[in-house]
């Protein structure tokens, strides 16, 4: 026996010849790269993950087996041959992959980055949503530690942070405002999303500039097999997608994707607008949103690819009130434009280089006008703008089979026009454009030790320069993981993040009355230090994964909008006037998550217990108070059942949030002005965020049915209910006065809770042409 083992050992040793296997993992049908796919050596159990371009590089011996897997695709196993130093692997899409939840669990277990959640277009569409509109941002609300700001906002809070502390990237380009329709839906077209990743625990050094989280959205490049078109008709808007090769002969050479989305409420309301303009005594309201986004990929050869991507979207809201002789109009318009151009080179099997140039703009305009009987026209137009130009270069270096290094630099020129006013009356002098230059250098590495330990680390250096101040900050990042044989791991992460540009907002709605300003001599960069310690267990019977972690975040130099100041009525002023500075904050919490599967029935659930508090010298008398985004308990339970190879699916989603804190008046007092008792009573707000809205909970149901039409085209119908048991979740508290008719003075002050979204049925029809 000993001889046999000895012989086997010798023969294996003789046969073992380590080579480096590299290449791209691609979608066989679409021809697109598959990012974050797992490449695992079944003999050594070492694994690597593809980068954004689907590139991987792994060490293996001839004769060893490599398995390639990704969510939504069938696994593929190859045996390494001598010639296999550079291979492209094409994975087949799986209409329903029985082991999908296992792959998802595995990805989350040994993913390239700790604490990252990723979703693709199909997963996003599986989650029931308001009006049946699949929404990238709202899909991430199922992630532990991620909470909605409120029901009608597309902003989200990650581990107690503010929505403005989330960095939102579209193909590597910053998107400043992610709201359509006041936040009811976000501005990412779900048909075009190839992959969306949310980082909340460990932040690779290439990301920075925000103090809470990073959402990285990548658009589809278009499939290389044939032209595909898709039409979706929903309750609010309709979408159109076209993608495919640009050249019929050489299909892999150049591909494109283009998505259009538009609401159609404006068509229904057009007659009322004409009526309001021509006749008297009518009121008119209109809303229109649209966006266009797309991407082009051009392959110069196997190793050089050019990607061009863009997004352009706008929202228009208009209302007219009064009569023809005394008409007042209110118009709001906001939107984003982004463009990115990226060249990806595979310089050698070990070095992958990217260069990117991008621009992003965000603007909003508020126009208020009055037209009186004598035909005098008065009013004002307030606008705000942000323009960024960014140049970026970074390289992946696959140094050894267990060491991967990424390093790069980027330069960004920010131009902010916080607010400028044009008015028919005299105003203060307009705000000047503020220019800030940001230079970043970063290095990060991933190193595996003995298959049992893995360390991710990095350092990011940021120089941020304005006319008045230059800031230099270093941001260390580290993640340490210990794997055990029982498919479990412990991890610890530490991250420092700085935020040099700040959003000033007087409300928590998705209204575009937001202003972005850079750090300067007065406003210090916001800083966040986060510690995260966790445990993940895989494959415990039907439990495909179990996760448990605790985190602690410390914020410094926080900014907060000054209490009681209306941004809308002070837009011509310098934004520095509106902010309280040098605030402190902390957030801590415990997150539990699980994936459970029985046959085609998948469950996922999470529970977060957390706290988020702040302190400012001039707010709440310097006492600590719960932040607006404090949610002690957040629970999300989702169940998904699929039949007929995924042609039918049924999803239910239940969410529960503790009520968020708000400030309410507790008393009414006499006011006093210039030696006299005031005429009107005054509401006494004694403490900041002294009241918590009632707990929020909601059940959403959706049923998806895919079928082939008579003309062999795929169609999909999605029907469902949002807020199925019609829970009236309070959104705000409103002050109402009850007047005494005799004395015409306020007799009683009452507070009322308002809710806006009852049970809402939805239907969405998609046809693939």
């Amino acid at each position: 026996m000993f001889r046999i083992i000895f012989f086997l050992f010798l023969s294996t040793a003789a046969y073992t010849q380590q080579i480096r296997v590299s290449g791209f993992v691609l979608d066989r049908e679409r021809g697109e790269s598959i990012p974050s796919a797992t490449v695992k050596n079944l003999n050594t159990l070492s694994s690597v993950y593809t980068n954004k371009e689907g590139y991987f590089s792994i060490s293996a011996s001839i004769g060893e087996s490599l398995v390639f897997s990704s969510v939504g695709f069938r696994k593929q196993i190859i045996v390494v041959a001598k010639s296999d130093t550079y291979i492209n692997i094409r994975l087949d899409e799986a209409a329903i992959e029985l082991a999908e939840v296992e792959v998802r669990a595995e990805n989350e277990f040994k993913n390239k980055v700790i604490g990252v959640s990723s979703l693709n277009s199909v997963q996003i569409k599986d989650i029931p949503s308001l009006f049946g509109e699949p929404d990238v941002l709202k899909a991430f609300l199922t992630t532990p530690g991620v909470a909605m700001v409120n029901e009608i906002s597309s902003g989200f809070s990650v581990r107690g942070g503010k929505p403005s502390q989330n960095l939102i990237l579209l193909d590597g380009t910053t998107v400043y405002n992610q709201s359509h329709l006041f936040g009811l839906t976000s501005n990412f077209n779900p048909d075009l999303v190839k992959e969306a990743k949310l980082y909340k625990s460990y932040f690779p050094s290439e990301f920075g500039g925000r103090a809470s989280s990073v959402l990285d959205v990548t658009l589809k490049e278009g499939n290389s097999s044939h032209i595909k078109q898709e039409i979706s008709i929903g309750v609010i808007n309709s979408r159109y997608l076209i993608e495919g090769p640009m050249n019929r002969v050489n299909r892999d050479k150049t591909t494109f994707s283009l998505g259009l989305r538009s609401s159609y409420l404006t068509l229904f309301l057009l007659p009322t607008k004409l009526n309001a303009r021509r006749l008297s005594g009518n009121e008119y309201f209109n809303y229109w949103l649209y966006d266009v986004s797309g991407k082009v990929r051009h392959s110069f050869n196997d190793k050089i690819n050019l990607y061009l991507g863009f997004y352009h979207g706008n929202d228009y809201w208009e209302s007219l009130t009064g009569s023809k002789d005394n008409l007042s109009s209110f118009k709001v318009n906001w939107g984003n434009f982004t463009f990115s151009s990226r060249l990806a080179f595979l310089i050698s099997e070990k070095i992958f280089l990217n260069t990117q140039a991008s621009i992003t703009t965000y603007h909003h305009k508020i126009n208020l006008g009055f037209k009186t009987q004598d035909l005098n026209e008065n009013g004002f137009l307030v606008s705000s703008k942000v323009n960024d130009l960014e140049l970026k270069v970074y390289a992946d270096w696959y140094a050894t089979s267990s060491l991967q290094v990424k390093l790069g630099s980027n330069f960004t020129r920010h131009a902010f026009l916080p607010s400028t006013i044009k008015a028919s009356f005299q105003t203060g002098s307009p705000n000047q454009e503020l220019i800030a230059n940001e230079f970043v250098t970063f290095v990060s590495f991933e190193k595996e030790f003995n298959k049992n330990y893995k360390v991710d680390g990095g350092l990011r250096m940021v120089a941020f320069d304005t006319n008045t101040e230059t800031f230099l900050q270093f941001e260390p990042r580290v993640a340490f993981r210990k794997f055990s044989k029982k498919n479990s791991q412990f991890y610890f992460t530490y991250n420092r993040m700085n935020q040099f540009i700040h959003q000033v907002s007087s409300n928590s709605l998705g209204l575009p009355i937001d202003i972005w300003i850079p750090s300067n001599g007065v406003i210090e960069p916001e800083q966040m230090d986060q510690f995260d310690f966790g445990y993940i267990r895989m494959s415990l019977g039907n439990f495909k994964s179990l996760g448990l972690n605790v985190f602690y975040k410390k914020f410094s130099n926080l900014l907060e909008f000054q209490s009681g100041v209306s941004l809308l009525t002070n837009l011509e002023k310098s934004p520095s006037e509106f902010v309280e500075r040098n605030g402190s904050g902390n957030a801590y919490g415990l997150e539990l998550s699980t994936l459970y599967s029985i046959g085609n029935l998948d469950f996922s659930g999470s529970h977060t217990y957390s706290s988020s508090r702040q302190q400012f010298a001039n707010i709440n008398n310097n006492k600590w108070f719960y932040s607006n985004f404090d949610r002690p308990h957040m629970i999300n339970i989702q169940a998904n059942q699929k039949w007929n190879q995924g042609q039918k699916s049924f999803t239910i989603n239940w969410v529960y949030y503790s009520g968020n804190p708000i400030s309410i008046a507790t008393k009414v007092i006499n006011s006093y002005s210039n030696g006299e008792q005031g005429v009107q009573p005054y509401l006494l707000y004694a403490e900041r965020n002294n009241y918590r809205l009632p707990d929020y909970h909601r059940l959403d149901i959706s049923f998806n049915l895919s079928k082939e039409t008579r003309r062999h085209r795929e169609r999909m119908i999605r029907v469902g209910l949002y807020n199925a048991y019609n829970r009236f979740n309070a959104l705000y508290v409103k002050v109402d006065f009850e007047y005494n008719n005799l004395s015409n003075i306020n007799n009683k002050v009452v507070l009322k809770k308002g809710a806006v979204l009852p049970v809402l049925p939805f239907i969405n029809y998609t046809l693939k042409l």
Binding site: F131, V235, I236, F268, N376, N378, F425, Q426, T427, G428, S506, N507, L509, S563, G564, S566, T569, K573, E577, I619, S663, I664, A665, T666, K667, V668, I669, N670, Y672, S673, N674, G675, Q677, P681, L683, L684, Y685, A686, E687, R688, Y691, F728, A730, Y732, K734, V735, N746, N747, K748, V749, V750, L751, K752, K753, G754, A755, V756, L757, L760, F762
Partner: protein, 296 residues
């Protein structure tokens, strides 16, 4: 049928879904509210009332026979304020020293000390204040109303003050009403415009410079509301009351003029701050300069 379903869905979506229901408020006991002014020279004026709960009939009334307000200085009791009417108490005429500190205490005959302010010092009287009408053309927001321009200049080198207020009243047919009220503070002086108006139904354009001296130019719409006539009329006399105030008054005015609930229900309200050791209210220093102008 499909069209009917589509139209029904759209109707469901775009009708107002807002529903209101009552807030379960935590119990909050009534508390005493005191506003009191400390001049450099003259009588202290104090206004005592109580808070009223939300959701019940507003009631600010107190049994004033049970409350006594006492003025304290560095060396102990200076005066006991006399109750006059409608919650107002007054001290004797006193010459206060700007180097001393003064506080007020409110006693209830049953409970004893119920309210105590912090100690503050009076502000020195400004000597070199010039309030005048100017010929500067002011473009008003509402062209229906004529406007007039005024300036206030404080060149007093002694003045190291940071906060001022201006009240403008108009008299029409013998009835006085407030045209507007401004507060200006060093914290708000960032650019040329540095005041805010109250009540908000009247509009002003104002410019000011606030360094070691103050130059404040502003326009006033000649419009006051005559309650008897129930319409807006042009005033015959404009009276401008200029006050140098301390930070406590400034913070108070900034608080009560904050649109805590005007813009939308999501606005973060301003928390009421008191410079009291016990109880709630404002005890602050101010001095006035008054100038009247006939409107032609």
């Amino acid at each position: 049928m499909k069209v009917t379903i589509l139209i029904s869905l759209i109707c469901i979506l775009y009708c107002s879904c807002e529903r209101k229901f009552e807030v379960d408020l935590p119990f909050s006991a009534d508390e005493l509210i005191l506003y009191a002014e400390l001049p450099i020279n003259g009588r202290i004026k104090a206004f005592l009332s109580k808070s009223s709960a939300i959701d019940v009939q507003i009631d600010f009334e107190l049994d004033y026979t049970k409350y006594t307000i006492v003025l304290f200085g560095d060396d102990g009791v200076i005066d006991t304020l006399n109750y006059e009417e409608n919650g107002f108490y007054y001290s004797e005429k006193i010459q206060f020293s700007s180097t001393n500190e003064y506080s007020l205490k409110v006693f209830n005959e049953l409970e004893g000390l119920v309210l105590e302010t912090q100690s503050i010092s009076p502000l020195p009287l400004l000597e070199d204040v010039l309030i005048k009408e100017t010929t500067k053309v002011v473009q008003g927001l509402n062209p229906q109303y004529e406007t007039k321009a005024f300036s206030i200049e404080v060149a007093d080198p002694k003045s190291q003050l940071d906060y001022y207020s201006v009240q403008i009243t108009g008299v029409s047919e013998g009835i006085e009403s407030i045209v507007g009220f401004f507060v200006i503070g060093k914290d708000s002086e960032v650019r040329s415009d540095c005041g805010f108006a109250l009540p908000s139904s009247y509009y002003f354009t104002d410019k000011c410079k606030l360094n070691n001296s103050l130059l404040w130019e502003f326009g006033v719409e000649l419009a006051t509301y005559n309650a008897q006539l129930q319409k807006v009329v042009k005033p015959e006399i404009i009276t401008i009351t200029f006050n140098n105030i301390d930070k406590y008054w400034y913070d108070y005015y900034a608080t009560i003029s904050a649109p805590n609930f005007i813009e939308n229900a999501f606005l973060v309200p301003k928390v009421f701050t008191s410079n009291f050791k016990q109880g709630r209210g404002v005890w602050a220093a101010s001095n006035s300069q008054i100038q009247s102008f006939l409107v032609k």
